[in-house]
Amino acid sequence: MPVFDCHSWLGGSIVPGMAQSVETLAKNMEAAGVDRALVFSAHARVVDPLAGNRLVQAVVDRSPGLYGCLVGHLNRPESSVGAMRELMSKRRFLALAVMGRTAEEPITKAMADDMLNAYRRYTKPIMLYALNADSVRGALEIAKAYPMLRVVMLGMGGRDWRDAIRAAHAATNILLETSGSLECAKLAAAVETIGPHRVVFGSWSPHTSAPVAIGMVEDSRISDDAKRRIFWDNAVRLFDLDGAPTPEGE
């Protein structure tokens, strides 16, 4: 079963040498059986959006299996919008991740309006961390205010995954990304409530290694068809990659 990892970071690992370069990313992906990955820049999140996203551009340009997710920081609006203007129209940048000071900090519509108004013309998905109930509420507010944008909840609510599933049920432009809490029960509940077509696989590597994240999906009590959609089909549709080569075709 091919795997598209929608949530993989370049840099930011506590363990030395992990996810620091295109070589280590490729090696980790191959060992884990990941065929494609959407790469986020840790440098963009914690240091400088423009420089960090340019690093990701350099990485995705060198590896056909990698795509970029542009990281915008709410406290660095000028640099973030600059990065957006420079990179977002490129085919290999597939989405915008809107980040606050920490992954746990809720992002509200008021906080994100400026950045989202600058971004909406690209018509690509946005990614928001949703690792607790407050963050889920913020993401839901944004999803309802921007119905033309597809909103991916990174971490699908963390331990508050029931809130994330309820939010996705309330707004059909929300998709849930599988990282966050390592609990099999959340995937079965999500598939039952919103269907398998609105859940995408993400590992949050190197924070959680891809094999560990894959193991959770494989252990979940959902059909093989649902797993295939989560691992691959939904990401291809979300990012409009139907024309891109598949792992089977290579």
Binding site: V15, G17, A19, L182, E183, C184, A185, P206, P211, V212
Partner: protein, 241 residues
């Protein structure tokens, strides 16, 4: 013969985990993933009453030979004496597990320290479940010079450096792997302290057994180290073949 042993499993009611934690489910998971034995205990002993829970654990483990019994005690409800340690040894429990965060008691806690002394006197190993950076350091402050074999459970990637620092000071200290989900964390730990002090644990069925296994099998360990981590170390610690 497969010597794999998962040192960290639970069964019974656990509302926080949203899963059915029946003994049957645990056995089904073991079969699916090829785990030969599991060290387990009833959640009733952790959440409600350690005496009732320990009785349930022993009953389940007598029925299913592949399950290795772990006892538990809530130090808040321990009023001194050697009774629990004596009873555990008599009943055949192989290890005692402690849950400070779930039960709301601090790592530096006098009744806990007394309990540890009584368990150390009978050479019964213990597993203590941690709760974030700093908790292992507080735990070892509590242990002091008590000569007990101690397993740190739920160590995550933020606590690897803390575990390594403590393990270099305390030769009787081990780490269980269920929290080590970060890329490269298991290999880093094995390189720093040696494979003989790392024990496979999953937290199943509350957490996915497949994930826990993947973190070990994809760690890039040698066959020899893999065998040790997957069960030989735990069997030596628990004194089982």
């Amino acid at each position: 013969m497969d010597q794999s042993l998962d040192i960290n499993t639970l069964y019974g009611p656990l509302p926080a985990a949203s899963v059915d934690l029946s003994i049957d489910d645990l056995q089904a998971l073991m079969g699916k993933h090829g785990i030969a034995a599991c060290c387990t205990l009833s959640t009733i002993g952790v959440l409600l009453d350690h005496n009732a829970g320990n009785a349930a654990t022993m009953a389940a483990c007598r029925e299913v030979q592949r399950l290795v019994p772990a006892a538990t005690v809530n130090p808040i409800a321990y009023f001194g004496g050697e009774g629990p340690a004596m009873q555990f040894q008599e009943d055949g429990f192989k290890v005692v597990r402690f849950y400070p965060a779930w039960q709301g008691w601090p790592y530096l806690f006098a009744p806990f320290r007394t309990l540890l002394s009584t368990l150390a006197a009978r050479d019964i190993p213990v597993i203590v479940h941690l709760d974030g950076p700093g908790s292992a350091t507080q735990l070892l402050d509590c242990v002091g010079d008590i000569p007990i074999r101690l397993v740190l459970a739920d160590v995550d990637d933020r606590q690897v450096s803390e575990a390594v620092a403590l393990m270099r000071q305390h030769p009787n200290l081990f780490v269980e792997t269920s929290g080590l989900s970060a890329t490269g964390a298991v290999k880093l730990l094995v390189a720093a302290v040696g494979a003989e002090r790392v024990l496979f644990g999953s937290g199943a069925p509350a957490r996915p057994l497949g994930s826990a296994l993947a973190s070990i099998r994809h760690a890039g360990l040698s066959e020899h180290d893999l065998a040790r981590v997957m069960g030989l170390n735990a069997r030596a610690l628990l004194g089982i073949g």
